[in-house]
């Protein structure tokens, strides 16, 4: 099999359109994962036992089942109870919730890394709990876990091809479509790999820079 440059030029625009969808799914999924993960982390520290248990069970359940199964449930099962989501919507919700269970652990580690003396000083100053979180704890906890969060965003980016299973036309779905039309898979799949590399490599370097900046 010989590399066909003309074919490469022909399919590149289609694949780049797929890359845009991939990046969009990653960005929206990240927002869901980063926000919901923090919510999970805070709920798991709730003073109400029931809230802690329910959140803990949900997080454990999501983390211990495959993302692909969750995507299928969102896309194929929810319509049977009257909730119809587009592939993209189901995809970003699935990715976001799944990765939120990982980021919640990262936040937890960051929160527990804040020295006890900080909580005590906040108590001694009589700051209300919501203010303690916003002004004292999270501004110290989040910077030091930014690299770990960044790594999960990159991991999520690399898992977006799963969305092809629920009809989202991201890069891999487009490459597969092209391949099945022309019976040439070498160029589209190689390009998909290269395009992933093109995004994730600089992203990894950025995370490494964050690591250096925030220490540990």
């Amino acid at each position: 099999m010989i590399w066909d440059w003309d074919y490469t030029r022909d399919i590149l625009p289609d694949l780049l359109r797929g890359l845009v969808v991939t990046v969009q799914a990653t960005l929206v999924g990240s927002v869901v994962a980063l926000l919901l993960g923090l919510v999970f982390a805070l709920l798991r520290r709730s003073s109400l036992r029931a809230v802690r248990i329910v959140t803990g069970a949900f997080v454990e359940f999501i983390r211990s089942t495959p993302l692909l199964v969750q995507l299928y449930v969102l896309f194929f099962v929810l319509p049977t109870v009257g909730i119809t989501l587009s592939g993209f919507q189901a995809g970003v919700i699935g990715l976001g919730v799944h990765y939120a269970t990982y980021t919640s652990e990262v936040y937890r580690a960051g929160i527990e890394g804040v020295p006890r003396g900080q909580w005590e000083a906040a108590t001694a100053l009589n700051l209300p709990a919501s203010r303690v979180w916003r002004s004292v704890i999270l501004p110290q906890a989040i910077p030091r876990v930014l690299p770990a969060l960044g790594n999960y965003v990159i991991a999520m980016f690399k898992e977006t091809p799963l969305l092809s299973a629920i009809t989202v036309l991201e890069m891999l779905a487009i490459a597969k479509g092209l391949g099945s039309q022309t019976f040439r898979y070498l160029e589209p799949l190689t390009l998909v790999g290269l395009l992933f590399l093109l995004v994730s490599l600089p992203a990894s370097l950025t995370v490494r820079r964050l690591e250096r900046r925030f220490g540990h």
Binding site: G117, E120, A124, L125, A129, Q140
Partner: protein, 278 residues
């Protein structure tokens, strides 16, 4: 008629000048604190008068730091009650029952208490100015401008007026502790707990912190509870020294008396050990 009048006047005077609650700023009633099987405080009773400065001394594990931590509500009390400025800190009333204080009640009474820690515990993510101004904005309801103006005054008072824009990590230990003093004072506490505030400092930085505290003691009427090994400081500022051992008060007396003629053998051995250490 005249006597009646005189009596009413006298009565009114007693009520306004000397309300009964003000006799004791802090009162511990049969306070018990355990860590597992280890009883740190056993039915401890003591009180501190308004404006009084007391120093708690004793071997480590004698419970003296625990007293400050209970008062600051950093630890939960196991039995007994603590009163501050005539209000119960640890309990509140619901109907005619007395229950453990909830968050709202605790915050209301705790407003009267401040604490300075051995490890300073400044907020490293905030500049010095915000470290001092943050709580007054959110707990005393001051505007940001007002709180910052007062913070600058307090920072001037502790000699750090030019450090408002520094981060705590850019300051020496002594400077950090002085910021912590300003931060505690910004909340206008009636009671101040000082928990070994110079123990984490290099020896040459101890004096600057103690001098600031001497000034605070001289220029305010804040009630102070001080755990320290600085006997000279204790002698200078305190009205009363309490010697603790095994969660109970061994003896208490004005510093001149306790340091020169202690009555108990336990106090004598403790003071001797302390002298040898220095």
């Amino acid at each position: 008629m005249d006597t009646d009048k005189a009596d009413t006047g006298k009565w009114a005077e007693t009520v306004t000048v000397e309300p009964p609650v003000a006799r004791e700023m802090v009162r511990f009633d049969k306070v018990v604190k355990r860590y597992g099987d280890n009883v740190v405080l056993r039915e401890l009773d003591f009180h501190v008068a308004p404006g009084e400065r007391i120093t708690l001394i004793g071997p480590s594990g004698s419970g003296k730091t625990t007293i400050l931590r209970l008062l600051m509500t950093l630890e939960k009390i196991d039995e007994g009650k603590i009163h501050v400025d005539g209000e119960c800190l640890t309990h509140t009333r619901r109907g005619d029952r007395e229950i453990t204080a909830d968050e709202k009640h605790t915050r209301r009474v705790r407003k009267k208490i401040g604490m300075i820690f051995q490890q300073f515990n400044l907020f490293p993510n905030m500049k010095v100015l915000r470290n001092v101004a943050e709580a007054p904005v959110h707990c005393l309801g001051l505007s940001r401008e007002e709180a910052e103006a007062r913070a600058i005054e307090l920072l001037d008072l502790v000699g750090l007026g030019e450090k408002v824009d520094s981060y705590p990590s850019q300051l020496s230990g002594g400077q950090q502790q002085r910021v912590a003093i300003a931060r505690a004072l910004a909340m206008q506490p009636k009671v101040l707990c000082l928990d070994e505030v110079t123990s984490a400092l290099d020896p040459e930085l101890v004096a600057e912190v103690l001098n600031v505290l001497r000034n605070v003691a001289a220029s305010t009427d804040i009630t102070m509870l001080c755990v320290t090994h600085e006997m000279k400081f204790a002698r200078d500022v305190s009205d009363r020294v309490l010697m603790f051992d095994k969660g109970q008060i061994v003896e208490q007396a004005p510093p001149d008396k306790l340091f020169t003629q202690p009555e108990h053998q336990r106090t004598r051995t403790f003071l001797r050990a302390l002298l040898e250490e220095h």
